[in-house]
């Protein structure tokens, strides 16, 4: 890390779940900047700096993308495929964070080059532990290419 605060792009349509992630990152990873978009189309707009996100100041390049799969408008899997086939975006780690534990979803996500696949635990302490470890791993230990 080069000292700048890491940017995490959270793509999550459920406001309550976004709030849970926001609280955890505020508690455990206060140095990070959490940017939240509520659907797949907004995620793409953010990454390509279109529409509401044309201002680079409002859409800093993320260090990590947390991506839900079931999203309105453009589906999470579509967003993943777009990122991973774009030479300018494909090196950004994408962690799938979803309620679905379905085998088909996992297979499709990894086939589309997701970097990790996490299922939101129903149990609260486990959810908290997951978010803490996730931030620690991807924001502290993991080295991204420049």
């Amino acid at each position: 890390m080069n000292g700048e605060s890491p940017v995490v792009l959270l793509v999550e349509d459920e406001p309550a779940h976004a709030e849970i992630v926001r609280r955890n990152f505020a508690d455990f990873h206060p140095a990070s900047r959490l940017m939240h978009v509520a659907d797949g189309q907004a995620a793409l707009d953010y990454l390509y700096r279109r529409a509401d996100y044309h201002d680079p100041a409002r859409s800093p390049r993320p260090t990590l993308i947390l991506l839900d799969l079931r999203l309105p408008r453009v589906d999470g899997l579509e967003v993943l495929k777009t990122i991973k086939t774009d030479p300018g975006l494909r090196r950004i780690p994408v962690v799938i964070l979803t309620t679905s534990a379905a085998e088909t979803d996992r297979v499709r996500a990894y086939d589309s080059h997701a970097n990790s696949y996490l299922v939101k635990p129903i149990d609260f302490p486990r959810f908290v532990a997951l978010l803490e470890a996730l931030g620690c791993y991807w924001l502290t230990w993991n080295e991204n290419p420049a």
Partner: protein, 553 residues
């Protein structure tokens, strides 16, 4: 006399001596010269007689051989021979016939032929026998005879008059006899009956059957073929099923597969889209089998087609329903799990915030929990509605289109008033027959949706109506709300699909409407020029619209 004279039967010599004694001939005394001459002459006569005798014996044995040969021919003929008198009594029978009825030739003589017949055939035979006997030419009688044991055989009788030919029990040479030829046609008869049954099956089966020659030109089709394809035999003879029944939408790969199988002399089994004479398409299960001659050459093809359009349709619908169900279970597990995750998480936060007495966070935590619990409740209720659409049917009633719209507007009046929506209903009307409460759900949901997605529109407006398009009545609910981009227009009818993450819906409303429309064999689609351009939902209800003539232009 030579020694050979001793071989003559002594009785003959005795007879000759006796005859000589009776004749009282004078004894004649002869000179030795004369005696010598006479002995010579007698010797010559004797030799001549012996030669003659030899010839006679040869002739006799030849005659015997000939007689034996004819007897063999008679007895071993491949058909039964019978000589019947005018009363139908057997005067003579050959071995073949005796074998048929399991008796000896000698046993048969003197018996009535009817004695060997099955009961029902006796009367028939007797009724025809006189005419058969008097002029048998060109006539034939098939009778069932009792054979060996329980065996029954069918024998075809033909005959000719046998005149002036006395049999062993036939003292009167002028008493006429009938020479009857009995041919065992049991197997042929069975084969014929089998063939008859088969042709009955082919002619009357509901499967379409065609028979082609080796070059696949049609020789015969059954009635079901005509019913299925619209072509009768006259129209198809000499043509190939391929040129008649296949069309633009028939899968070329299937056609190639059929050709390859038939070229290789193999059968084919598969499904193929076929064309009726009038151009309509239907699906058939097709079986084609080659027919070979004794040398293994393909001489014909027999094709059987079964109309599986309905079955196939049902199968596709079932597959679609299964896919929908699978998707449904997947989605429901996601959509029910999501609020549960929320509730558990904020319950955890609530504990922490209570301990810290953080009033602001406590209120926020409870809001999230309440919203999640509400979402779950709403989801369960709508799921229940959705499952009811398929299960609980009220008896169909007649209801006017206007009446349904008015009631839908009453049910949604709160939302309409809050948003200040102007509602316009057209003049056109229609009468529907169906489950009133289900039909009502269509307009209620569509109006609710229009109100919900009115967006920033300053003068919101909803138009509800029905119009004629060709032969059909098309209903519509049009608004000037936020609209929907063309690429999402199909997606919104899917289960749990929401376009607006901020909306409070569960994503089941339009899926429910679509299911009701499909229940009445209708279609539903969406027209919108895009975001901010308003939305028009159109749908048809063919099985609920009472009078189709209303839809005529």
């Amino acid at each position: 006399m030579s020694a050979e004279t001793d071989h003559r039967p002594p009785s003959l010599r005795e007879k000759a001596e006796a005859m000589l004694a009776r004749s009282h001939r004078e004894r004649v005394d002869l000179a030795p010269v004369e005696v010598g001459r006479i002995i010579h002459d007698l010797s010559v006569y004797q030799l001549e007689l012996e030669i003659q005798n030899e010839e006679l014996r040869n002739t006799q044995s030849q005659l015997a051989r000939t007689r034996d040969r004819y007897a063999r021919l008679y007895h071993q003929a491949p058909v039964g021979y019978l000589s019947l008198d005018a009363n139908g009594i057997i005067q003579q029978a050959n071995q073949t016939f005796a074998d048929m009825v399991g008796r000896s030739c000698a046993d048969l003589v003197g018996q009535a032929l009817t004695g060997f017949m099955a009961g029902s055939d006796r009367g028939v035979f007797l009724g025809r026998f006189k005419s058969f006997f008097n002029s048998p030419e060109g006539k034939r009688i098939d009778v069932a005879l009792r054979g060996n044991g329980a065996r029954r055989l069918t024998v075809r009788l033909t005959a000719r008059r046998e005149v002036d030919a006395p049999g062993p029990l036939q003292p009167d040479p002028f008493k006429p006899l009938l020479l009857v030829i009995g041919e065992d046609i049991t197997e042929r008869k069975q084969a014929e009956e089998e063939l008859q049954r088969l042709s009955l099956v082919a002619a009357h089966t509901t499967n379409a059957v065609f028979i082609t020659d080796a070059e696949r030109r049609i020789e015969w089709v059954n009635r079901a073929f005509t019913r299925l394809t619209g072509f009768d035999l006259a129209a198809v003879r000499g043509k190939t099923p391929c040129e008649l029944l296949q069309g633009a939408e028939t899968d070329p790969a299937t056609v190639t597969a059929i050709r390859a199988a038939l070229d290789a002399g193999q059968g084919y089994e598969g499904e193929i889209l076929s064309y009726h004479q009038d151009g309509c398409t239907y699906w058939v299960q097709l079986f084609i089998d080659p027919v070979r001659d004794a040398d293994g050459r393909v001489t014909r093809f027999i094709g059987v087609q079964t109309d599986i359009t309905a079955r196939r349709q049902a199968r596709l619908e079932l597959q679609e329903k299964n896919a929908e169900l699978e998707r449904f279970i997947y989605l429901i597990s996601h959509d029910l799990k999501s609020p549960l995750v929320t509730i558990k998480a904020f319950l955890g936060y609530l504990e922490q915030d209570l301990a810290r007495s953080d009033a602001g966070r406590i209120a926020q935590d409870m809001d999230y929990m309440r919203a999640a619990a509400d979402k779950m409740g709403q989801l369960l209720e709508e799921l229940l509605n959705l499952s009811r659409v398929g299960r609980m049917a009220n008896p169909p009633t007649r209801v006017g289109f206007r009446e349904l719209v008015d009631e839908a507007l009453r049910l949604t009046a709160g939302g309409i008033a809050r948003r200040g929506v102007e509602v316009v209903t057209g003049e056109a009307t229609a009468t529907l027959v169906g489950d009133r409460s289900r039909l009502l759900v269509i307009w209620q949901n569509l109006v609710e949706n229009s109100v919900k997605y009115m967006g920033e529109q300053a003068s919101p407006r909803i138009e509800i109506g029905v119009e004629r398009r060709g032969w059909e009545l098309v209903f519509f609910v049009r608004d000037n709300g936020m609209g929907i981009e063309p690429r999402y227009q199909e997606k919104v009818f899917g289960l749990f699909e929401k376009l607006d993450p901020g909306s409070e819906g569960t994503g089941l409303g339009l899926a429910l409407v679509k299911r009701i429309v499909e229940l009445y064999r209708g279609q539903i689609w969406l027209e919108s020029a895009g975001a901010g351009q308003g939305t028009c939902v159109r749908f048809t209800l063919p099985e609920a619209v009472e009078d189709r003539s209303e839809a005529q232009p």
